[in-house]
Every structure is written in C-alpha cells, then in structure tokens.
Amino acid sequence: MHDHALAEQSDALRLRSLDDLNRLRKQILDKRDPDQPEIVVCHGTGCLANGSADVSAAIRSALDASGIEAKVVPGIKTTGCQGFCSHGPLVVIRPRGIFYQKVKPKDAKEIIEKTIVQGDVVKRLLYKNPTDGEKILHEQDIPFYKRQTRVVLHNIGKIDPTDISDTIASGGYQALAKALTTMTPEQVVQEIETSGLRGRGGAGFPTGRKWRSALTAIEKKGRPVYVVVNGDEGDPGAFMDRTIMEGDPHAVLEGLILGAYALGANQGYLYVRAEYPLAIKHLTIAMEQARAYGLLGDNILNSGFSFDARINRGAGAFVCGESTALFTSIEGNPGNPRPKYVRSVEEGLWGRPTVLNNVETWANIPLIVNKGGDWYAKIGVPHSTGTKVFSLVGKVNNVGLVEVPMGVPLSTIVEDIGGGVPGGAPFKAVQTGGPSGGCIPYELKDTPVDFDSLTKAGSMMGSGAMIVMDNRDCVVDVGRYFLRFLEEESCGKCMPCRLGLSRMREILDNFSEGKGSEKDIEDLLSLSKAIQDSALCALGSSAPNPVLTTLKYFKDEYLAHVTRQKCPAGVCKNLITYSIDPELCTGCTSCAKQCPVGCIEGEKKKPHAIDTGLCIRCGICMDTCKFNAVNVI
C-alpha cells in the first residue's frame, strides 16, 4: 500500500495528535494475533546477494500451495539486515524464534510442512555452534546474538522497513509525538546533552555540544538553519549506516525531525551515496509514508511545526563524506572540501548554520528522547555512552553486524561474537576506523572499544568498520591498500594529500618489491607528519594513520621487507617462494590439479615439488593443501 493508495488516502491517514498516533498504534496491534506464526526472511543486502529474494518467493508459493487451514494463517515478512551476514540467507520463525540459516529456495516446502504445520524443526538448517558442535534452536541463544546489546538495531530484523505501520506498532514516532506535545526544543537539546551521545561519524564530537553551538550561531545569524544526515558511508568494510537506512529508515527520519524541532530547522537533507540503492529506496518510501501520515511536512501532528527533507545522492566520491565537501556537493559543486576555520554549525550548507550528523547518530535520537538522556548515559562507559554498531569483516568466522555497549574489550567483539579467526589462530591485528583509523595488534586485544581508548592505541572509532587480519595479512600490503584507495578518492585540491599519498604509496610499493632501506622508513614517518600537519581536510590529515600504526606495532615486518627482502606474511609476491615439505606431503595431487600454470610435479602418493621458475605465486597450492605441506619461504 504505497504511492497511489497512500496519496489518495492521505487526508484520511493524517495524524493530528499524540492520541491519533496512539489510537493507530493500538488498532495495528489489535489486528495482530500474537500467536500467529510469522516467517521472517532477511532482505538485507548481504542475504539478498545470497539469494534471499528467491527464498522468500519460494516460501510464499509453498505457503500458498500448502493450503493451510489453520485458525491463523502465517504471515511472511521481509526485513532489513539481521546482522549474521556470513550465515545468510536467514529465516526466523516467530514468535517461537526458530532460527534457520543458509536457507535455499528448495528448503521452503519443508519449512512450511514441518515447522509451520507440524510444529517440528528442520534440524539441518539450524546453526551449529562451532565450539561444541551443538545445534542451536533459538536466535537469542546463538553466541553471535547473545553477547550483543541491540539498541539502535532493535527494530531491524523485526519490522518491514517499507511498511510504516510496522514501525508505528513497534513504537516509532512516539518520541517525535512526545517532543512535539510535551517538550520544548530546549528540553530536547538538554536530553541530548544529558545522554552524552558522541557523533558516530568518526571523530566522536559530543552531539549535544554541536547542537548547542548551532543554537548560539543561530542567535547571531538568524535562520534558516539546516539539518543534514551524512549517509555517505564509504569506509572499506563499513556497512552500519547502510543497514540502518535499509532496515529502519523511519528511525533516521524521526531522529532528523527531532533535531529539526530542537534547532528550529524547516529543511533537511539526507546525503546518501548512490551505491546504496536499497537504502535510498527505503528512505524514499519512508518519507512518502511519513508525509502521508502527517509526520513529515507541514504542521506535523498539528503542532504548528513544519519540516521537510529531501534525499541527495552522492555520486560515489569518498571525500563527500567529509562535512564541508558534503555541503559543497549538495550545493551542486564538485565535492571539494573547504577550509574549516569557521565551523559548520556557524557556516555550513549555503553558508548557514548547519547540523550534520551521521546516520547512526540520528537513529539514536528517538531512543534518547523516548527513554531519556539519563537512561542512555547509563549504557557504555562514562565518556563514551550508549552502544556502537560495528561491521565485522575480514578473517573472522562470523562476518556481520554487531552492536555492543561502548567500552567492551576488543576481544569480546572479535573472538566471542565474531568467533575468532577461521582455523582458530589468534588474530594478528584489527583495523578499526577505516582509512582514517589504524591497526590494533593482538597484544592490545583487551583495549576497551570506546572513543578515547581507541585513539590512545593510535587508531580511532571512525564509522565503526572492523577488519580482522590474521598472520597471512601483510602490513605493508595493508598500508598500500588504504593509500591506493585514498589517493584515488582524495579530491586532489590540496597538495599534501594529492602528491603525498601517492608518494607514500610509492615508498611502500618499493618495500613490497624488496627495494628500499631503513632510511625510507624514516622518510615515511616524516612525510606522514607533514601530511597530517598540512592537509586541507580530515581525509588527508588522517590518511597516514594505517601506515603509522602498523609501523608502530609491526616495525619488524617492515624491516623484514627492506633489510631481508622477505614478506613474513607471504603476501608480497616478489619476496616469497613456495615450497612443499616432503615430510608432510602425502602426494594427494590436489595442489597439482589446482595449479593454474602446472608448475607442481610429482608421482601419486609421493612428495611433490614446485618448479619455482614457473610459479606465479598465486598461493592456490597453499590454500588447497589439507596437510599444511606447502610453505612460504
């Protein structure tokens, strides 16, 4: 029931007070039977890529074909990303909370027949705990979910993001109604200040203080003032904001409207990168529905407060996530940052006072207004309150989306929730904060994950991407990767960034080829310092961080590259040779079959050997060998 139907009924739908909203909520809830089975299929981007659209279609047709004549017909719901991406497509049967993973369309019939009709469980689709091999029935018992505290993500996986009635049923827009009917804008700002919420975009600037200084700027400069959502999430490995926009778009919107109310803004912008089509679609639908219900637009809930927002699509430039570049881009110019000696709260979009917050920050606002700043301040640790959503990727068993209170040790996220590195070895390092952050080594695995502790470790919170690395990841290669990314994504306006990042990468290129000297490491440090000191915006000034932290914690590995011409992780192709240990080799021939250049020879059941002259060092032999007989020397 979107578009047309909504537009026609818009006047009928329009909510005119808090009572209206509560009445509607009650109506929606009354229509629902708590015992009605609900088949929830994850339609997050990860699961969709794994074919969950086919799964939900198959379940739908299996349900139609089954002709169930039960008292209550089961419903099917598709939701945003439920987080456990590496085990998708995910299907949860509520209200029992039976959790099926890696579901294929062919499983649909069995799920309907066994679970829905007979009330049995399809055992083979259950999640198997890797530590004890036990099958786990319920979602909440899976270690991945058990150790999380889902506050911002509480709706995702439960509501259909394209249906506002689901949002309203789960308490959406209650905060907005509360603020508009019982709170002054000043009180809203105070709640945010009390909460201690810090910006989830990366630098961790206190949100309340930002809003307060915007109010001061408005006193001086008058209105208009703008509120903007930064949805230009571009860090490699980060997908928290995407998930929130896709899975609970109304939360972002409600937060934005609350911010607008607090600051007296009548126009807002959602800057979403074009690479997130599903997020843009869901936000567009959410905004249409909110408008139809009188929650966005003129005279919201008959309170006299009017606010509308629009979506601006970013054209795929990483630098446009930087505040001033983002504003320049919305204004219709190439996304070049401008000097920030005057802050955005004073002179932002169109030169007006502007409050820019990231998606996750905005999504926190309704919760704080609803439950109070004090409630929020109790979660987490004193200077980093609340929870933080992380995207956990790389060499980790449970790739996915994780929400934990601030201040939990890094190892809880990577080892307990993430299930550690495949194969069981300790992780080598965790790259946090994307290209602006750094690598935290295994020795610091007990570091509390909060803004200040991560900064102390030389890294940063950033947007919340966590890339787990094991001993097959080379730090020189990691540095090259991030520098390559940033030299392409830099706007290129200022010279330290455009010239410096390329030159840093060239030095690292030399290292990976076995060229270079210890003097080059000194140069790298000094050049990094110059770039940090002089770059125009935070993209440039934070760009050396991955290199600086790896130099700090893994200097030996750099030295191995330049003084011994060795790559201990076995990644830099010019510096490695593969060999087969004749003691361990069983002559199974599987490596020889996989080798793309045919450089492995040997008789069956006898040790094989690699012709290193022909070898292209692709590493397939090492990945194939079940007996650990292939080594890097």
Binding site: G492, M495, L499, R503, A530, D533
Partner: protein, 201 residues
C-alpha cells in the same frame, strides 16, 4: 584593530584580514603558490602553513585563509612548518620538473633535489587551480575547469573539450605561477563564438 604576534613580533591587523595579509604588510616572508590578491584564497598549495602556539598546544594552519584573531601567536619558521614546506617542495620538484619557477622557489628554501621518481619530465602544471579561479571570479567565465579527482586531477576545459566560452583574455596566463598555462591554453580554447576583433570593440 586586532593585535597578535608573528614570530614574537607584535603586529596589528584590520578585522577580516588573514594571517598572510598581515605578514605581508609587515614584510614577513611566507612562501605561496596558489595565492593571488585578485582572487579569493583557496588554501590549496599548503606552502603558506604557519604554526599557532599557545603554551603546550600548537597546530598548523594555512595563513592565506586563517582569519586573524586577538592574541594568537603565529610562527612562520618552526621545525614543523619547515617539514611541511620541504616535503611539498620536494614533491613538486618531482611532479613539475620542467618548471623553472618551482625549481627556483625550492632552491630558495634549500630544496635542491628530489628523492621521488619523475613520471613526466615535461610537466609544469601543479594543479593549483589559480587559472580556474581567475577565469571564474575575475573574468566571469568558466572556460577552465579542474577535472577529475585525486591523482587523476588535471586542469583543462570543462569535460576536457575545447570550449568556445574562452575569450582569450590571457588572465590565466598571467597568473599561472609555473608557466604551465601556456601549454594548456591551446587545449582549452575552441573556436570563439564571435571574432575576437569584434569583441574588442
């Protein structure tokens, strides 16, 4: 009037001035490349970085855009400032090796060679964007564009097609700090809409 110090020397500036303007007023040398009094400052070349100090705290700012404020302490010749200048000049020597102006400026600051690979020995343009700014802000046209981003950034005409917007006024040629514009100029200019002689009348 706003009073502050540059290199421990007391200076006064009018409200709205930048640090660079004040320094130039007092004859204090700060090197610049992308700065030109005819256009608004853009803060692109970062050669004019100076250090602000306050007890244990200090930071580097671009003097061409930093607005003066009461009581700030500006230093133009600190180790941090020198480090930035030295690296930028050394990188410019490698990316614009054919520009005598860059060589002279580098030499004036004690940078005579570069440790970096030279990819294009004939390159003179350092993509400071001054030509684009003068065309837009002073001439009132946009015949010159800085296209693409990051390492691919270059100066040309919009969409890299010769443009008939150009009136061949030559402003870009006169402001170009490295003489690179004389090579780019012909690629920018298309067939003018009206004969230039007519324009002059």
């Amino acid at each position: 009037m706003i009073t502050f110090t540059i290199n421990d020397q007391k200076v006064t500036a009018k409200k709205g001035w930048t640090v660079l303007e004040t320094a130039r007023e007092y004859g204090i040398e700060i090197p610049t490349l992308c700065h030109h009094p005819a256009v608004k400052p853009s803060g692109a070349c970062r050669l004019c970085m100076v250090e602000l100090k306050e007890k244990n705290w200090s930071k580097l700012v671009a003097s061409c855009i930093y607005p003066v404020a009461e009581g700030i302490n500006v230093y133009t010749e600190t180790p941090r400032v020198h480090n930035v200048r030295r690296w930028i000049l050394e990188m410019l020597l490698a990316s614009c090796p054919a520009s005598p102006e860059i060589s002279a400026l580098a030499q004036a600051h004690g940078v005579v060679s570069t440790r970096f690979k030279i990819h294009d020995p004939s390159q003179t343009c350092m993509i400071c964007g001054l030509c684009q700014r003068i065309c837009e802000e002073v001439v009132g046209l946009s015949a010159i564009a800085v296209v693409d981003r990051g390492v691919h950034k270059k100066v040309g005409s919009p969409f890299m097609r010769p443009t008939d917007v150009c009136v061949a006024c030559g402003c870009c040629l006169t402001v170009c700090p490295t003489g690179a514009m004389k090579d780019i100029f012909d690629t920018v200019r298309g067939e003018p809409k009206m004969p230039l002689t007519q324009l002059a009348m």
